[in-house]
């Protein structure tokens, strides 16, 4: 009997096996989303936002994420954006570092000494990011491009997206430039078009099951460059913020759903 089963199974064409594998992966992803631990990161992040810290023993509650001091709901859906006080386009992570410095009196070096955590010890930024992005759930993506520096950032981000370099000659578009492609079983959204950018951007940052950790957008970009065989990008540098800005603007109109859950 079992031999018959094996025989039958081996007769199933491989395309069917591949489709089954795809269905199983989809089922797995759905199950992951239903039981996501991202909520725990959000709770911890809210507590950290309100906790007095640093030489000034102040909380981040007066941090201006673009909508005014302390206004968090919907702020992430309107980032990156230009900030007058720093005269820069900033993404969420770089803005948080500015607030840590301005409100809490912390140095940039101290605030960024551990930007990516691990499963044992997450980074403070990962907790804060989880809570802040969760406060934009249901908000439509609307990163602005009206200030001249925002337009320049968007244009640079687009150039960064298509810039081929490194030992393997890749750009972001090498993997995210054509529809219906995948690496191994991983499907690849076209990030230079609204549908693909919305799919990806509205579900990042995300809880990554394979590393038991919440990962930020700066981490996502860092790890893409690692796999592209580029050298390491500087945390919250002009190019990574510009790239994030380009993706956010391209994702315009998509309802934010994060933090997401990924394999």
């Amino acid at each position: 009997m079992s031999r018959l089963v094996v025989l039958c199974l081996s007769l199933i064409p491989f395309t069917v096996a591949a489709q089954d594998a795809k269905k199983e992966i989809e089922k797995y992803q759905q199950m992951l989303g239903e039981g996501s631990p991202a909520e725990l990161w959000e709770l911890e992040g809210e507590a950290l936002w309100k906790k007095p810290q640093g030489p000034s023993n102040a909380s981040l509650e007066k941090c201006d994420l673009g909508l005014g001091a302390g206004k968090v709901p919907g702020a992430y859906a309107r980032l990156p954006r230009y900030f007058k006080d720093t005269d820069q386009v900033q993404d969420l992570e770089s803005r948080l570092v500015s607030c840590m410095s301005a409100l809490q009196g912390r140095s940039r070096a101290e605030a960024t000494k551990r930007v990516f955590g691990n499963a044992d010890t997450p980074s403070e930024l990962e907790y804060l990011v989880a809570w802040i992005v969760g406060q934009s759930r249901g908000h439509k993506m609307a990163a602005p491009v009206s200030h001249p520096k925002e337009r320049a950032s968007y244009e640079l981000g687009k150039k960064v997206f298509f810039y081929r370099a490194g030992n393997w000659d890749f750009s972001c578009a090498s993997c995210h430039g054509e529809a219906d492609k995948r690496i191994r079983m991983q499907e690849l959204p076209v990030l230079s078009e609204p549908a693909g950018a919305q799919l990806a951007y509205t579900t990042w940052p995300a809880y990554r099951v394979s590393s038991s950790q919440l990962k930020t957008m700066q981490w996502r970009i860092n790890d893409c460059y690692r796999q592209m065989r580029f050298p390491e990008p500087e945390f919250a540098s002009e190019s990574t913020i510009a790239l994030t800005h380009y993706l956010a603007v391209t994702a315009k109109g998509g309802a934010y759903r994060g933090p997401g859950t990924k394999r």
Binding site: E155, V160, S171, P231, E232, P233, E234
Partner: protein, 196 residues
């Protein structure tokens, strides 16, 4: 008044001047740093990368021809048979290790072939960025000319298609001469699962 404001908005330039290729490169050189085995200078573009980026991967036929001829000269074709061991080739095709800023120096690199290509029918976890190579040798045979084409294509894909998305695996130092020969055997050997 409202109309004036709107007219003003419409008159405003919608896009600033785009940064030049040189400016974009300088920004990359400033914003990336050496880590592990990957040197920061790797973000500077060579002729292939620069021309492909600027032309959206569609250079004129003349420029493409010139680039391909230049890249062809970079290929060191070994003398004799280019058929290595397909079993070793299979491991190289499966492995995606190496060349990242977190890889330890000294670990053998893989070719990451399955990331983008379908090959053996039994492997269902394959990427689709590149064309399917299933039955590659069955269709073409394994004569000296086919061996040379497969070796050259793996060594430097840009010698055959200037703006190919495939990495220059020999040229970049990712794979050794022996590893490429093993991959050629994996593609061409009639006993290889690619041709079953």
């Amino acid at each position: 008044m409202k109309i004036l404001v709107m007219a003003g908005m419409l008159a405003a330039p919608l896009a600033l001047a785009e940064p030049t290729a040189r400016e974009v490169q300088d920004i990359h050189l400033r914003d990336f740093h050496t880590k592990g085995m990957v040197k920061k200078e790797a973000v500077a573009q060579d002729a292939v990368q620069r021309i492909c980026t600027m032309s959206n991967d569609r250079p004129s036929a003349e420029v493409a021809k010139q680039l391909e001829a230049d890249q062809m000269r970079s290929i060191a074709f070994p003398a004799g048979s280019l058929l290595g061991d397909w079993k070793r080739g299979e491991n190289i095709a499966q492995s995606g290790r190496g060349m990242t800023f977190t890889d330890a120096a000294g670990t053998p690199n893989g070719g990451s072939c399955y990331n983008c290509h379908q090959m053996a029918a039994k492997e269902i976890s394959y990427g689709t960025l590149g064309p399917s190579l299933q039955g590659f040798g069955k269709k073409r045979g394994a004569d000296a000319e086919t061996q040379k084409y497969a070796y050259g294509k793996i060594y430097n894909a840009k010698a055959y298609n200037a703006c190919s998305q495939m990495p220059r695996l020999g040229w970049s130092g990712t794979l050794t001469e022996q590893q490429i020969k093993d991959l050629v055997a994996y593609l061409l050997d009639p006993a290889s699962p690619v041709n079953q």
